[in-house]
């Protein structure tokens, strides 16, 4: 893999993050003290078996959930201290999400789906249309703007979802098993698209996957086991991971 990645300052930093679900005897510790630093412009893959805490970490990094204890610094904000709506505003401004199940609105055209984040940003109709078409163009689906998810293939749906995630020019794109529902060929197309966005649009990509083949596209791979970071691979030196 090419290593012409340009890393900036630290964008995200987790310090001693724990997460406990439930209380009393049924309490379950999903994270047991996680430290992670992610630089601006990185392409990070998070790997690990089920129950290792990778999804919980992604939820926290996506500002969807807060740690039970520890610090989460994002762009200088102590996210762990923020209220629900303040975290929503962070997501709106700086984050984009791509899910395994695509999660597009049914019976809604690709264009309307991509426009959705702009609606919450309060953009006017003309600007929404322009930005959404540009995003669809970037994922190669400009001609499919008036198709509903039911009329699109899985790969195309995931591209629409990516267009929706990047339409606001986010700092970070969070992808939760983005290729989990796709065949290998489609998966590689999606990974190439994510790599392109990372390299050429300067978007920091955080991706959860359990497929080594997909993780190989990333620059940094974080391995989780039993609620802790087991090891971090950085493919800095030429030849690593290839």
């Amino acid at each position: 893999m090419a290593s012409d990645i340009a890393l900036g300052e630290t964008l995200i930093s987790l310090r001693g993050v724990t997460k406990v679900f439930g209380e009393g005897p049924t309490a379950f510790s999903a994270l047991k003290g996680v430290d992670i630093d992610i630089a601006r412009g990185d392409f990070v893959a998070v790997m690990g078996p089920s129950g290792s805490g990778k999804s919980t970490t992604m939820n926290i990094l996506g500002c969807l959930d807060v740690p039970t204890d520890g610090q989460f610094l994002f762009r200088g904000h102590h996210v762990e201290r923020l209220e629900r709506d303040q975290r929503a505003l962070l997501r709106r401004r700086y984050l984009g999400f791509v899910f395994q199940g695509f999660n597009l609105l049914a019976r809604t055209t690709a264009l309307e789906n991509v426009e959705l984040p702009l609606v919450y940003r309060g953009e006017d109709k003309a600007r929404r249309h322009k930005l959404a078409m540009a995003a669809l163009d970037k994922v190669g689906l400009a001609d499919w703007w008036d198709h509903t998810p039911a009329e699109l293939s899985g790969g195309q749906q995931q591209r629409v979802a990516i267009a929706r995630a990047i339409v606001t020019h986010p700092d970070v794109l969070l992808a939760d098993e983005p290729t989990g529902n796709l065949d290998t060929e489609r998966s590689i197309e999606i990974m190439e698209l994510l790599t392109d966005l990372n390299r050429n649009s300067g978007i920091t990509v955080l991706m959860v996957t359990h497929e080594a083949e997909m993780a190989a596209f990333a620059h940094t791979i974080i391995h989780f086991r039993d609620g802790l970071v087991e090891r971090t691979e950085v493919k800095d030196a030429p030849g690593v991971g290839s």
């Binding site: 929503a88 505003l89 709106r92 999660n103 609105l105 019976r107 959705l116 919450y120 309060g122 929706r164």
Partner: protein
């Protein structure tokens, strides 16, 4: 933001057209029922008022006897004399007209046509007390009234029975075997407040009826028209006092005559129909409430069904208030649509039903507006709970929802 939210709501409604229609059906029927009931009820009230006012508004009718359903035993109290009318005219203030009614019945004959009718002997002031319109001819002259000349003014029923289409003014016909010249014809008033035909009538100077039909100088009924500026209750009281004196009842405990106030009757009857209208409206309003519960039910189902969508919106960065607003606006838009549809149906059905029920169609903007705002309010009240539930969903769980 509000415009966009409204747009999203309309989009969502359009996407589920049948379900949206079924959702608002309760509101549609509720608004329809309320507006139809109240509109028809108001029409009925107006009809009653109009029928009563055809008796003459603010007219006191005085008759011997103790009123409805009483005075069964004992001798019949005497009728009034024409001097009683003069006394009323002379001694009471606020009286615009005093008219006698000397009644008789008999056959009216013209050529081969023959019709049994009511003959009312009266004076010129009668036309002040009673709202009659002439279709032709004139009322009696003072000289004719004074002399008790055999001149007749006929109601439209009598005219139709005897003359068909012909103009009877100037013709002579026989009434109770008296030859009488027709000097005027009256416009139809229609059915009276008690189901009687008010147009089956022949009016003559009272002296003519007394002399040639009843054979005495008695007056059965006195009609006293009261000036609107005066209190009819006070005038009624002085009238009673005056008549008691004239009939030498000062030592008797009870009157031997009764005063019938048309205004009072009118107020009572229209009050009754108004109460009935409110009652029907209230019953219909319950169905509107049930409609609101229907909206809440569907909105709750919709929130569950669209949990994933809510999760997506939250992940994308919608704050709780925006999700709340979306569902609230959707509920309010739905219920307002239901309200409008109900108003439209009510308009159509009242326009169709009013002629069938023989009540006038009166469009009341107040009840239409009220019903509409109430349906919007129902959207807010019953939409709030499901919207709150949607807004408080946890985005992670919502996204995981199947």
């Amino acid at each position: 933001m509000y415009a966009t939210t409204f747009l999203l709501a309309v989009r969502e409604i359009r996407r589920h057209l049948l379900r949206s229609f079924l959702t608002i059906l309760g509101i549609v029927i509720g608004v329809w029922a309320v507006v139809t009931m109240v509109t028809l009820g108001n029409g009925a009230t107006a009809a009653v008022k109009q029928q009563i006012s055809s008796l003459g508004s603010n007219v006191l009718q005085v008759r011997p006897g103790q009123g409805f359903g009483r005075g069964g035993g004992g001798p019949q109290p005497p009728d009034f004399k024409i001097e009683d009318l003069d006394a009323i005219r002379g001694q009471l203030v606020g009286v615009t007209a005093v008219a006698p009614l000397v009644q008789s019945t008999g056959a009216a004959v013209y050529n081969a046509a023959n019709w049994s009718t009511t003959i009312n002997g009266t004076n010129r002031e009668y036309f002040v007390a009673q709202p009659w319109t002439f279709t032709g001819g004139r009322m009696f002259s003072p000289a004719e009234e004074q002399a008790g000349k055999a001149v007749c003014i006929i109601g439209s029923t009598v005219r139709n029975r005897l003359f068909r289409g012909a103009d009877p003014v100037g013709k002579r016909f026989r009434i109770k075997n008296i030859s009488c010249e027709i000097i005027g014809t009256l416009a139809a008033k229609g059915q009276g407040g008690f189901g009687n035909d008010q147009d089956d009538i022949v009016l003559m100077p009272y002296k003519a009826v007394q002399r040639r039909m009843t054979g005495n100088r008695d007056v059965r009924t006195i009609m006293v028209s009261v000036d609107d500026a005066y209190d009819s209750q006070a005038i009624q009281a002085s009238l009673r006092k005056l008549l008691r004196e004239r009939r030498h009842l000062t030592s008797e405990p009870e009157d031997d005559f009764n005063i019938f106030d048309t205004k009072q009757i009118s107020d009572t009857l229209s009050g009754t129909t108004q109460i009935l209208t409110s009652l029907l409206g209230a019953v219909a309003a319950v169905s509107l409430l049930v409609g609101g519960i229907g909206i809440m039910n569907i909105m709750l189902v919709s929130v569950t069904e669209r949990t994933r969508e809510i999760g997506i919106r939250l992940a994308i960065g919608a704050v709780a208030r925006e999700v709340l607003l979306q569902f609230l606006v959707e509920a309010v838009t739905l219920s307002c649509l239901g309200g409008l549809l109900g108003l439209l149906l009510a308009l159509i059905s009242t326009m169709v039903l009013a002629p069938v029920l023989q009540v006038p169609f009166i469009f009341d903007p107040k009840i239409n507006l009220l019903a509409f705002f109430f349906s919007a309010l129902i959207g807010v009240v019953f939409g709030y709970f499901p919207a709150r539930r949607a807004a408080s969903l946890n985005p992670i769980e919502a996204l995981r929802h199947e």
